[in-house]
């Protein structure tokens, strides 16, 4: 992580913690998360698909952003220094262009915190379960 990015991400994380949005007050609804994943599915699969427009999300948790072999990432994504966790995915999906400026994901973001939480819980579960 470059120091500037780390600093910036530190602020985002701090803001999220201060806002309490990462302290789960409800159990994630995986069914809702699955429905929300429709918003991602035009470009992303969870089972290692190589023929979609976006990189597969199989085993995404803990992966270094922009590191998947064989996928052509934007320079912004490769340089981001981000590792995908519940927290970074939440920040990214909130406002993709704000979190990693100049990345190529054509997605406006999800403003609703509960929807993001359900979605990320679903991605985490389904991306691990995939063969």
């Amino acid at each position: 992580m470059t120091s500037a990015r780390a600093w910036q991400f530190g602020l985002v994380a701090a803001a999220l913690v201060a806002g309490g949005s990462l302290a789960p007050t409800r159990a994630a609804d995986l069914e809702r998360g699955k429905a929300s994943f429709d918003k991602c599915a035009a470009c992303h699969g969870l089972g290692g698909e190589a023929d979609l427009d976006g990189p597969t999300l199989k085993d995404v948790m803990g992966r270094q952003a922009g590191s998947l072999e064989g996928y052509r990432y934007s320079a912004a994504m490769k340089r981001s220094g981000v590792t995908w966790t519940t927290m970074t995915l939440d920040a990214y999906i909130t406002d993709p262009q704000e979190f990693i400026k100049g990345n190529r994901m054509a997605f406006a973001g999800i403003a609703d915190q509960a929807e993001r939480a359900d979605l990320i819980a679903y991605i985490e579960q389904a991306s691990k379960a995939a063969p």
């Binding site: 429709d38 918003k39 991602c40 599915a41 035009a42 470009c43 427009d53 976006g54 052509r72 100049g102 190529r104 054509a106 997605f107 406006a108």
Partner: protein, 589 residues
């Protein structure tokens, strides 16, 4: 000498919407299918990914995804007394090139045409008497009814992911939708897109005036969507880069993300890109096609692809060109009034719109989609609207949309602003956010002199004569546009703008400024070979194993965009080939 390849069941010329639909339907039915596309392969990633695709200069100004006029174009003249000259740059319309065709860079407006459109001559004669249609206006009925085509309109809407609101559900008017539309068996697959501020203003003011505004049906997905074939669309992000661009978010219904991958998944389908078909080959009787001849434009090598069925699925203009170059059917002669191939060319007059400027309103025009809009159809689909008031045949839709707010192309300024310099700069900065447009789109009726033939002088890169287009706007068009423009101006004045420009009036047609990529006719469908090139299954009357699919089949042009019926007719034709022609080859009508 051309290399002769292995015979297939079907060869498809051009892989856009119509070619893609035929390819997917016929390959899934088990037929061996080869598609020949003269342009390159295209896919969302990497071809349409951001920031690359947001390059307005490359894609909008320089037509990066479109036909290269240095290789092939057409010649144009307004009237027969003139010498036609080649169109050396695209302008008025933008034919596609490459996998997905113009279906990649369309805006996404998806209408079902009206019951009047499906039976135009019958309707106008019954309602207004035989004398109402001028003798040189070759209006004719479609060879199938709206009701027959309804399931195929529905199929295309589901494939492309159309966002809209039903207005006529099995004959029951549905408030908020287009109450004048032909009856639908069910609602659109997706809810309407969000309206912008200008559309809300127009919705209110046109409702106050007694009209019936509704959200324009759009193949821009209002939310993520999986179509019946399992193709997945993302949600539209309102980025304002539809028309002239590919969609970065897979949110615009396009063949390269729907029907074409379905065909590509089949081992009995093969796509060959950079493959330019120069001719359909006929046997010695001229009643049967044996295949096509094409050139691999990357090597210059020529091939012969034999096939039992030839499907012409190129852009509407190029379908007609290929028929004339191949000698399919009798060429139309406007002077002698003989023949059919080339007749009934129609376009779509715009120009009647008004632009409103407000000191006190901000419209954020960069939040845009190709197709979203609020439309009134009271002067077009509305059969009760008395055409005698307009003094013409057809009608006009009136719409507030916002296809883009891009920095080069979108520069609204009030009348009287200098065309350049410091004053222009000041005005464009001030009014960019503060303008809205009320657009008028008129239908276009055929005229005996508006037609294609082969040019006597100019040739393309293969040495073949260019297609020659003779076309002009006529009295009927001027009346319809003027009437629509007056209604638009009345609505505009109700909004009390600081100033407004327009409505414009129609003069001679110019092929230079962009108007619409809605070129129709030339190989029209009909009930008789006397006045049509293809029958009700878009099958050539003369060469029954040639099908000619696309807007080239329309006998006239509606005030609606063409892609709805283009898609519906492609499914209809595919169905006829699969379920009828295959069992019993030969004329289907």
């Amino acid at each position: 000498m051309a290399t002769r390849l292995k015979e297939v069941d079907v060869v498809i010329v051009g892989l856009g919407w119509t070619g893609g639909i035929l390819a997917s339907e016929l390959a899934q039915a088990g037929m061996t299918v080869v598609a020949l596309e003269r342009g390159a392969m295209r896919s969302t990633n990497p071809d349409f990914s951001i920031p690359l695709i947001r390059d307005e200069l490359r894609f909008a100004t320089r037509h990066g995804l479109m036909q290269n006029t240095a290789r092939d174009t057409l010649t144009f003249r307004n009237r027969q007394s003139e010498t036609a000259l080649p169109m050396r740059q695209l302008g008025s319309f933008l034919p596609g090139e490459g996998v997905g065709g113009a279906g990649v860079h369309w805006n996404g407006v998806t209408w079902r045409w009206t019951t009047i459109d499906h039976a135009a001559r019958t309707h106008y004669e019954q309602r207004y008497g035989k004398g109402f249609i001028p003798p040189d206006m070759a209006v004719q009925d479609w060879p199938m009814t709206y009701a027959e085509l309804e399931p195929f309109y529905d199929r295309f809407e589901r494939t492309a992911g159309v966002s809209g609101k039903v207005g006529n559900l099995r004959g029951q008017p549905q408030p908020g939708g287009n109450v004048f539309e032909a009856p639908r068996d069910r609602d659109y697959p997706l809810p309407p897109l969000q309206q912008n501020y200008a559309q809300e203003l127009f919705d209110n003011v046109s409702r106050e005036a007694g009209y019936h505004p509704f959200p324009r049906p759009s193949a821009n997905a209002s939310r993520a969507y999986t179509n019946p074939d399992g193709s997945r669309l993302g949600a539209c992000v309102y980025c304002g880069h539809c028309e002239r661009f590919g969609c970065e978010a897979n949110a615009k219904g396009s063949p390269h993300i729907t029907v074409i991958p379905l065909a590509m998944a089949r081992s009995n389908f093969e796509l060959r890109t950079h493959s330019w078909v120069t001719k359909v080959q006929l046997d010695s009787t001229k009643r049967r096609a044996t295949g096509v001849v094409y050139t691999d434009v990357t090597t210059g090598e020529e091939y012969e692809q034999p096939a039992s069925i030839v499907a012409l699925c190129a852009y509407a203009i190029n379908n007609v060109h290929l028929m004339l170059l191949s000698g399919i059917g009798t060429p139309y002669d406007a002077t002698a009034q003989r023949g059919v191939i080339g007749r009934n060319y129609c376009y779509q007059p715009g120009g009647g719109g008004v632009t409103l400027f407000f000191e006190d309103k901000i419209f954020n025009p960069f939040m845009a989609t190709g197709a979203f809009g609020t439309t009134i159809d009271d002067f077009h689909a509305n059969a009760d609207f008395d055409r005698k008031l307009m003094g013409g045949i057809g009608g006009a839709t009136i719409t507030v949309g916002q296809s883009n707010g891009r920095p080069i192309g979108y520069r609204p300024v009030p009348a009287g602003t200098p065309r350049w310099g410091a004053e222009w700069k000041k005005a464009t900065a001030k009014w960019y956010l503060r303008a809205m447009n009320i657009g008028v789109t008129a239908g276009n009726m055929p005229n005996r002199y508006n037609a294609y033939d082969l040019d006597p002088t100019y040739k393309n890169v293969f040495g073949q004569p260019l297609l020659r287009l003779t076309y002009n706007f006529l009295e009927n068009d001027k009346k319809v546009v003027a009437y629509g423009g007056q209604r638009a101006a009345e609505l505009a004045r109700r909004l009390n703008p600081t100033s407004m420009t327009g409505p414009g009036t129609l003069g001679d047609y110019s092929i230079v400024p962009y108007q619409s990529t809605h070129n129709t006719g030339g190989a029209v469908m009909g009930a008789s070979p006397k006045d049509s090139a293809v029958n009700r299954y878009l099958q050539s009357w003369d060469v029954s194993n040639v099908f000619v699919v696309g807007a080239s089949a329309f006998p006239h042009n509606s005030a609606y965009n063409p892609t709805g019926p283009v898609g519906a007719l492609a499914y209809w034709t595919a169905d006829a080939i699969k379920n009828r022609y295959r069992k019993k080859p030969g004329p289907l009508a």
